[in-house]
């Protein structure tokens, strides 16, 4: 027990931290800032792993799921370039603060073994969107404690490397009423217009947004309706009515030209779809109660050999399992990944992996 260290902190992100460097982010990508908070730095090697970042704020990333495709982007603060066709959105996002965090690290078992445990509650995530052309401020989204996460990390040194295992559990609570997607804080950039041939055309959101990748997609006719299983809630029929490739038709069949080649969406009254593209997620007017409330369990192990071989300098094998379900008990599926990586004597790295997942539900589609 002598080697165990217990740390606990409330709101650990505000004290004894060096100031961040100023970064002006004009892109649509997140800005990652180096971790400087002492609680996260101390014994960080115990909890670090090649499996990826820990949930809930290890490494401060100015990023938000709800803001990753928001006009204006997800940096701490940035402004979109002004142009006649683009509205100058300004998005101000604060990183979700860690409200409380407990950490236990040490070497309690014996030589070569390390254990680390961490539990944390992450606070509300604030995002403010401003549109200077219409309203100076169009509100802020906030939510109750957003994430609750726990991490368990084990590591055992072996002769030529180590064996590590890590399990994380995350519960995510998101209040849709305060979610920016629930009520777009600003009007769509364009209203569907009716062309002379009777087709309604809606301009997509500015092309520089991530949503514009949809502009190059095209739906094709379905040979047969996809046979999808009924949802867990049952009593609903999923039908495929798809004429595809027939731009110019109104009605459901006209959706075949829903994402034509260059960012024009063609269907009557499809503003909701534009919202989908803008946010990167589907807009559901009837989706109420929660936007994404789920529990996620992720476990993985890694076997790493650091002893140079005849051809290799390092070998690493990883297995990871991910399971998710929403708070209604609806299983959101699981997935299994297996990966193997080799660093050759020539310092070339080869990585190969296999993964798979059975059919699963998307909770954002199954609430009504």
């Amino acid at each position: 027990m002598q080697d165990l260290t217990f740390d606990a902190a409330l709101n650990p992100g505000v004290h004894r931290s060096r100031a961040d460097q100023i970064i002006l982010n004009l892109s649509t990508n997140e800005t990652f800032l180096p971790e400087k908070r002492p609680l996260f730095l101390e014994s960080a090697d115990t909890l670090s792993t090649a499996l990826g970042r820990m949930p809930c704020g290890s490494g401060r990333q100015r990023r938000s799921r709800i803001d990753s495709s928001t006009p204006g982007g997800s940096a701490a603060r940035r402004a979109r370039p002004r142009s006649p066709t683009r509205r100058p959105f300004q998005t101000s996002l604060r990183p979700p603060p860690s409200m409380a965090r407990r950490k236990l690290t040490g070497r309690p078992v014996g030589r070569g073994s390390t254990v680390g445990a961490l539990a944390a509650v992450t606070g509300e995530n604030l995002v403010t969107v401003r549109d200077s052309t219409t309203r100076p401020s169009i509100g802020a989204g906030s939510s109750p404690p957003d994430d609750r996460a726990a991490v368990l990390r084990l590591r055992q040194d072996i002769n030529t490397g180590y064996f590590g295992a890590m399990a994380t559990s995350t519960s995510r609570f998101e209040n849709l009423s305060s979610h920016p997607d629930s009520a777009p804080p600003f009007a769509p950039t364009a209203v569907p217009r009716q062309r002379p041939d009777g087709v309604f055309t809606t301009r997509m959101w500015p092309r520089s947004m991530p949503a514009c990748v949809f502009g190059d997609r095209r739906y094709t006719a379905a040979g047969q309706p996809p046979r999808l299983a009924d949802s867990a809630r049952g009593a609903r029929t999923h039908r495929a009515r798809w004429d595809g490739d027939r731009p110019g038709r109104s009605g459901p069949g006209g959706m075949g030209a829903f994402w034509p080649r260059r960012g024009d969406s063609t269907s009557p009254g499809n503003v909701d779809y534009a919202r989908h593209g803008r946010r990167g997620r589907l807009q559901r007017p009837w989706l109420h109660g929660a936007a994404e409330n789920l529990e996620e369990l992720r476990a993985g192990s890694e076997l790493r050999f650091l002893q140079p071989g005849r051809l290799t300098l390092e070998r690493r094998t990883q297995v990871q399992i991910l399971a998710r379900r929403n708070l209604d008990g609806l299983g959101l599926g699981y997935r299994l990944d297996l990966s193997h990586s080799v660093l050759l004597q020539s310092f070339w790295r080869l990585t190969a992996g296999l993964g798979g997942s059975p059919a699963r539900f998307d909770d954002r589609e199954n609430r009504r």
Binding site: H238, F258, D337
Partner: protein, 137 residues
């Protein structure tokens, strides 16, 4: 790389827009050349095949070259290709019914970037402490 197999991001085909996401089997291959050299290359390929009667497949390939022309100058270019077909996607609803279609998506993207690292020092004042003979030896 583990955990990302078959996961092409929130805006990529297969994410966020399916009522029931199809099961899939995925493969991932990545080759990265010697990162110590002045010119390094990396190729990554992801293949995803949807299982069951739904069908569909997706391939994503990314190839990039990074050139360290000078110790402080880095030039990088990357080409990405995405192709997916027959994946069922939600496109709307009629009353209580959902309407699905099959998607054909082709995407080609290029990215070029350059980074010049420099350090500039600004001397505001040259302050030299006066040496006095305090203390004793």
């Amino acid at each position: 790389m583990i955990g990302r197999i078959g996961d092409r991001g929130g805006l990529a085909p297969g994410a966020t827009a399916a009522l029931e996401r199809a099961g899939f089997a995925a493969g991932h291959v990545q080759v990265q050349s010697d990162f110590r050299k002045s010119v390094t290359a990396q190729v990554t390929t992801d293949v995803q095949i949807h299982t069951g009667r739904v069908g569909g497949a997706a391939v994503t390939t990314t190839a990039g070259v990074t050139i360290h022309a000078l110790p402080q100058l880095e030039l990088a270019t990357e080409l990405g290709l995405t192709y997916t077909s027959r994946e069922p996607r939600y496109v709307g609803n009629i009353g209580s019914d959902y309407v699905f279609g099959r998607q054909l998506a082709k995407r080609r993207q290029r990215r070029s970037a350059g980074q010049l690292h420099f350090y500039a020092a600004v001397v505001v004042a040259d302050v030299r402490p006066a040496v006095s003979g305090f203390g004793s030896l």
